[in-house]
Amino acid sequence: MATQTTNYQCPACTGPLKFSAKSGKLECEYCDSSFEVKDIEQYYAEKEARAAAEAAEEAKNPGADTANWDDSDIQGQWEEGQMRSFSCPSCGAELICDANTAASACPYCGNPTVIPGRFSGQLKPDYVIPFRLEKNDAIAALKKHYKGKVFLPGTFLAENTIEKIQGVYVPFWLYDGEAHGNMAFHTHRTRLYRQGDKEITETSHFLVERSGSVSFEKIPVDASTKMPDEYMESIEPFDYGAMKAFSTAYLPGFLADKYDLEQEDGNRRADQRCKETLEQLLRETVVGYDACVTHSSNIRLRRGKVHYALLPVWMLSVRWNNESYLFAINGQTGKTAGNLPISYGKVAAMFAGLSLPFSLLAYLLSQVLG
C-alpha cells in the first residue's frame, strides 16, 4: 500500500532536503545546512499554523492593505463667507484666513503681492493645535538657529528680514493604522581561536524569523504641495495633547494654507513610514549576532481613520544671493528647520587653518618617531 511522503524544503535556500543515513539528519546539498527531523517537522508545523491564522484574518478583513482610509470623522465644508482667500501669483500658493486678517506676503516665497479671491467649498478641519509661540518667540528661535554657524555669510544676517516671519496653519492629514508582518534574516556568529600554529575561525549560520504588529495614531502627512514635506517632518513631533477640536477662534492673526493634496495621495507616505517603523522594530529584536542581513520582508497595513488638522508653523522665506531659503519653526515646540547658506570662503579658511598646523604637527611627530 502506497504511503504518503513529505518532501521538505531547506529553510535557508529552499533546496530539497534529503535524509542522510550517516548523520541521521536531513541535509541540504545546496547550502550544506543540516537539521534534525523533529526540528524541521516542528518548523513547518508552526509555519503552516501561522499561514492558517493569517488566512483566517484575511477572510475576516479581505484586502486589508488596499482598504480605503476611514474618513468618516472628517467634518463638512466651510460656511459661505466664513473665510477669505489669497493666492500668490509667484508660486501658486493658496492661503486662507478669517475675515479680519489680511495676508501681506506669501509665506512660501516671500512675494509681497498676494491676490485676494473667493473662498468656498473646502473641507473644514477636524482638529487644530493652537500656536503656543508668539512672533517674538519665533524670531528668537530663528536667531538661535543662526547662532554659532561659523560658515554663515555675514551679509546673510545683515540682509535678513527676520521680522517678516509669518504664522501659518499648515494642513495635515493624520493617519491611524496598524502594520503587521514578518521578516526573515540571515545571521551569523563568529568565534576565533588559536590552536598551536593554526588560527581557527568558526562561523555559525542562523535563519532568524520575527513576526509582529504595531499600531499608530495620527501619523502626520502635510496636505499642501507648496510645503516641502522634509521641512514638516524635520520640525516633528507635535504634541497632540494640545490638539483641540477645530474652531475658527484660533485663526485670527494667522494664515492657513488650503490643502491641495488629497488624502489618497498622502497615504503613500504614511504607509511608507508605518512599514519602516515595523521593520526597524523587528530588526531590533535580533540580538546576539555578529552580523544580520535581511532575507525577506512581508509587511501588511491595516488602515484606520484619517483626520484633517491644522498644525502651527512659523515660516520665513528669505531671498539671498539669488537663492531662496525657507525656514520653518514648529509653532508649538519651537523646533526649527532650514538649510542655511554657506560661505565657501569661510569653509576654505577653516580647512586651511586646521590643515596647516595639523600637518606641521604631523611632520614633527613623524620625525620624532622616525
Binding site: 562561523t203 517603523t277 529584536t285
Partner: protein
C-alpha cells in the same frame, strides 16, 4: 707549618687569579681586530678579516672589531650579553681617537647570543636604523653557521655605511612614506572637523519611520525563531618567523653607547 703556609698562599693566589676578570683572559692585543677565542674561523680567514678590519679602522678613524667566545658569562661582566660587550669594549680601551670611537660585534656560542655595541662618533654612521641594517647583513649567515660569511658581510656593510657617513650622508631611515601618512591623517582630520561644521548648516531631512506615533505599548512580537543552519570552519596556518625559532635582535643602550643584541 711554613710549608703549609706556602701551600695555602699558592692556592689563594691561584683562586684569586681565576676570580679576576681581566683582559689577559680575553687576549686582546694591540693590532688585533678579530679575536676568535671560540675558534670559529681558520687562521687564513681570521687573518683576512683582521686585515680588512684594520684597513677600515685606519681609513675611517673608527675601530671595527669582531670577537667570538664560548661563554661571555665567564668574563664576570654579568649575565647580559650587551652589558658584557660594552664593558669588554671599555676595559680593553678599544676604539680610535680620544673618543674611543668604534663598534664591536661579539658572538657567544654557549647560548648563541650576539651583541653589537657602537660607541662615540661611530653612532653618527650607525644610528638605531643603521644598526638594524648592519644586523640584517650578518644575522642570517650566523643562523646558518656561516661564520666567515657573516663577519665578511659585517665588515663590508660597515665599510659602505662608514663611507656614506664620511661623505656627510649617513644612512638614515626614509621617513618620507611615514611622513606622508601622518600628513594625510592630519588633512583628513581637518576635513572631518570642517565637515562637522558644514553638517550643522543643513538640518532639513526626511524622517525615517514614525516611532513618535506608535501606540499600545509598542511592538507586539507574535513569533520568533532562531534556527541554526550550519557551522563553517576556516583554518589558517600562522607562518613561523624566518629565524627558525630564534628571535631577532632588540635595540639596546648602555655603556655610553648604543647597539643591538639577541640570539642567532
Amino acid at each position: 707549618m711554613k710549608q703549609n703556609f706556602k701551600l695555602l698562599s699558592l692556592v689563594l693566589a691561584f683562586l684569586l687569579l681565576l676570580a679576576t676578570p681581566v683582559s689577559a683572559s680575553q687576549g686582546w692585543e694591540p693590532g688585533i681586530y678579530v679575536n676568535d677565542q671560540a675558534g670559529l674561523l681558520t687562521s687564513d680567514e681570521c687573518s683576512a678579516l683582521n686585515s680588512y678590519a684594520q684597513a677600515l679602522s685606519e681609513q675611517y678613524d673608527c675601530g671595527i672589531y669582531i670577537m667570538t667566545v664560548w661563554d661571555f658569562t665567564t668574563f664576570g661582566y654579568g649575565s647580559d650579553v650587551f652589558e658584557a660587550t660594552w664593558k669588554l669594549y671599555h676595559s680593553n680601551l678599544l676604539g680610535y681617537g680620544s673618543g674611543n670611537d668604534g663598534l664591536i660585534l661579539l658572538l657567544s656560542m654557549a647560548e648563541r647570543n650576539y651583541a653589537l655595541f657602537v660607541y662615540g662618533q661611530a653612532e653618527y654612521a650607525f644610528d638605531s636604523y643603521g644598526q638594524i641594517l648592519l644586523e640584517d647583513a650578518f644575522l642570517d649567515n650566523f643562523r646558518n653557521n656561516d661564520w666567515y660569511g657573516g663577519f665578511s658581510d659585517y665588515l663590508s656593510t660597515g665599510e659602505s655605511m662608514l663611507s656614506m657617513a664620511d661623505r656627510g650622508e649617513p644612512v638614515r631611515k626614509d621617513t618620507g612614506p611615514q611622513t606622508g601618512v601622518f600628513i594625510l591623517i592630519a588633512v583628513l582630520l581637518s576635513a572631518l572637523i570642517t565637515g562637522i561644521f558644514w553638517a550643522q548648516m543643513r538640518n532639513v531631512r526626511r524622517k525615517s519611520g514614525a516611532r513618535a506615533y506608535v501606540t499600545g505599548g509598542g511592538l507586539n512580537l507574535t513569533h520568533r525563531t532562531d534556527l541554526f543552519l550550519r557551522k563553517t570552519r576556516t583554518v589558517r596556518h600562522i607562518p613561523k618567523s624566518s629565524s627558525s625559532g630564534s628571535g631577532g635582535g632588540g635595540g639596546r643602550s648602555g655603556g655610553g653607547g648604543s647597539g643591538r643584541s639577541g640570539k642567532f
